[in-house]
C-alpha cells in the first residue's frame, strides 16, 4: 500500500494549493499556470470535485442537501481517486507539472470539521501521492466571508448548515470555517504545508510561490532556465 507520507519517484512535479474559499488560492494557481506555460513547461490543472465519474452526482446531492458527513466524505474520495488515477498519476509519470486546486488536505480539513474521524479519513486517502509542494493560504473566516459573500449568501455546505450549528447562514459559516481552518493549521506541521498569509498582495504571494517552485524543480533536476 503506498503511504501518503512517502515521496513519489515520478518525473513530474505535483503542486497543490489549499485554503478555504476566498483565500485567493485559485488566483495564485492561475497565475502560476500562465507563467509555467509561458516558460515552456508542460502543465496540467485539476480541481476538486471535477471528475467525470462522480462530480455531477455530488453536486446534485449537495443541491438537495441529502448528504451525511460520511457519504459526503466518501463521494469526494471517489472523485479524488478517479482524478488521481486518470489525470494526476499519468501526468506525473509523463513528466508534467500538475497543479491541483485543492488536494486530500481539503478532505482532512472539511470532513473532520464535519465530525468525521480524523484517522478514518486519512486512512481512506492513503492511496494519495504526496505533493512536491503544498501551499496553504491562511485567512480569517471573517475576511474570507467578506470576499465571497459580497454579492451572495454562503452556500449550504460551505456554511456547514448540515451541521445545524446556527440557523443564520453567516453565523454558521464563521463557526464552520473556523473549524476547517483549525484543521488546516494542524496540517502545517503534520504534512509540511507551507503557510502563506492570504492578505498579502497578489504579487508578493506569486513571487513567493515561484521561488519555492523553482527550488523544487531545481532539486528534481528540471531545467526551467529557458525563462
Amino acid at each position: 500500500m503506498p503511504k501518503f507520507n512517502e515521496n513519489h519517484n515520478y518525473k513530474g512535479t505535483l503542486v497543490c494549493v489549499e485554503g478555504i474559499d476566498g483565500s485567493g488560492k485559485s488566483t495564485q494557481l492561475a497565475l502560476l499556470r500562465d507563467w509555467l506555460k509561458e516558460i515552456g513547461q508542460d502543465v496540467i490543472f485539476t480541481e476538486w470535485n471535477s471528475s467525470e465519474l462522480i462530480s455531477q452526482t455530488t453536486k446534485l446531492a449537495k443541491k438537495k442537501n441529502m448528504l451525511s458527513p460520511r457519504t459526503f466524505s466518501l463521494l469526494h474520495a471517489v472523485d479524488f481517486a478517479d482524478r488521481l488515477q486518470q489525470v494526476i498519476a499519468p501526468a506525473l509519470k509523463a513528466g508534467f507539472i500538475v497543479l491541483a486546486d485543492r488536494y486530500a488536505y481539503t478532505a482532512f480539513a472539511r470532513d473532520v470539521a464535519r465530525g468525521v474521524d480524523s484517522d478514518w479519513v486519512r486512512e481512506v486517502y492513503n492511496f494519495a501521492i504526496k505533493p512536491d509542494l503544498a501551499i496553504y493560504f491562511d485567512i480569517d473566516p471573517k475576511d474570507a466571508m467578506e470576499r465571497i459573500c459580497s454579492n451572495r449568501a454562503p452556500k449550504f455546505y460551505e456554511a456547514g448548515m448540515d451541521l445545524k450549528l446556527s440557523n443564520d447562514p453567516y453565523e454558521s459559516y464563521i463557526i464552520f470555517q473556523s473549524r476547517v481552518i483549525k484543521e488546516y493549521k494542524k496540517m502545517v506541521d503534520e504534512y509540511g504545508l507551507v503557510k502563506l498569509d492570504a492578505l498579502d498582495s497578489i504579487h508578493s504571494k506569486q513571487v513567493a510561490i515561484r521561488t519555492m517552485l523553482k527550488d523544487v524543480l531545481k532539486a528534481k533536476g528540471v531545467d526551467y532556465d529557458a525563462v
Binding site: M1, E52, L53, L67, S68, T71, L75, A81, L84, W120
Partner: protein, 223 residues
C-alpha cells in the same frame, strides 16, 4: 431464557444474508421476510447497491468501464454509507427487523480480490453496526458457476474481467468466483457466520434460518 442483547445497541434486529452471486440469498430473504411479517413484526429489507444517490452512478460507470479498483471500492462504500445512515440505522432505532441482502463482507471479499489492502477496506466500513445474525450460504464453486450461467449469465464485473485474470470469459469467471469464495471462507469464523450448505433444498435452508431467528425472538427482545 436469558435476555438476548442486540450487538449494536439499537432497538431492532439486524440480520444479514451473505453469499456469492447465485447462492440463493434473495430467495431466502424473501421467505424470511414473509415468515416474520406473518408474526406481525416490522420488517425492512435493504439490498446491496440500492441507494437512490449512488446506485445509478455505479451501474453507469460499470457500463462504461470507468472504474478502477479504488473507485470501485469507494463508490460501494459511499452507497453503503448512504443506505446505512438514511435507511438502516433509522429503522433499527425504531425497532424494525432489518434484513440485509449482503453487508460489508461482500465489499471485503470483492475488494480484496481486486487487490485492495484488507485493512484499508476494513477501515472504510469500521463504523458499521455489528449484525445480530449473519447467515452465509455456502456453495461449492462448480454448482455456483452452473447456477449463474443458467440464470443471469456472465457479467463483466461478476466475472472479474476488470481485474484481468484471464481474457477467456469463463476462465476469468471461475478464477474470480473461487477467489471470492476463499475470502468468504476466511471470514467465517472472524465474523461468526452461521454457515449453511447452500445446496440444500430451499425449504430446508429456510427452516434453519427460521429456527435461528426464532431463538432470538423468543427471548422477547422486540417486546
Amino acid at each position: 431464557m436469558t435476555q438476548f442483547k442486540t450487538k449494536h445497541g439499537y432497538e431492532g434486529l439486524l440480520i444479514v444474508i451473505e453469499g456469492t452471486d447465485g447462492s440463493g440469498k434473495s430467495t431466502q430473504l424473501e421467505l424470511l421476510k414473509k415468515y416474520l411479517q406473518a408474526q406481525s413484526y416490522g420488517v425492512m429489507v435493504s439490498e446491496w447497491k440500492t441507494s437512490r444517490l449512488i446506485a445509478d452512478v455505479i451501474d453507469d460507470a460499470k457500463d462504461r468501464n470507468l472504474l478502477n479498483a479504488t473507485t470501485f471500492s469507494l463508490l460501494y462504500a459511499a452507497d453503503f454509507a448512504d443506505r446505512l445512515e438514511n435507511q438502516i440505522i433509522p429503522a433499527l432505532k425504531s425497532g424494525f427487523i432489518v434484513l440485509l441482502d449482503r453487508y460489508y463482507y461482500t465489499a471485503l471479499a470483492r475488494d480484496v480480490v481486486r487487490g485492495q489492502d484488507i485493512e484499508w477496506v476494513k477501515n472504510l466500513y469500521d463504523y458499521a453496526p455489528e449484525p445480530d445474525l449473519v447467515f452465509y450460504l455456502d456453495m461449492p464453486v462448480d454448482v455456483l458457476l452452473k447456477r449463474i450461467i443458467g440464470t443471469t449469465g456472465l457479467d463483466f464485473y461478476e466475472s472479474g474481467r476488470d481485474v484481468g485474470f484471464s481474457t477467456d470469459f469463463y476462465k476469468s469467471f471461475e478464477i474470480y468466483q473461487k477467489k471470492c469464495l476463499e475470502q468468504y471462507n476466511a471470514m467465517k469464523s472472524e465474523y461468526n457466520f452461521k454457515s449453511i450448505d447452500g445446496t440444500k433444498p430451499i425449504k430446508e435452508i429456510h427452516n434453519i434460518m427460521n429456527e435461528e431467528v426464532q431463538k432470538i425472538l423468543d427471548s422477547g427482545v422486540l417486546y
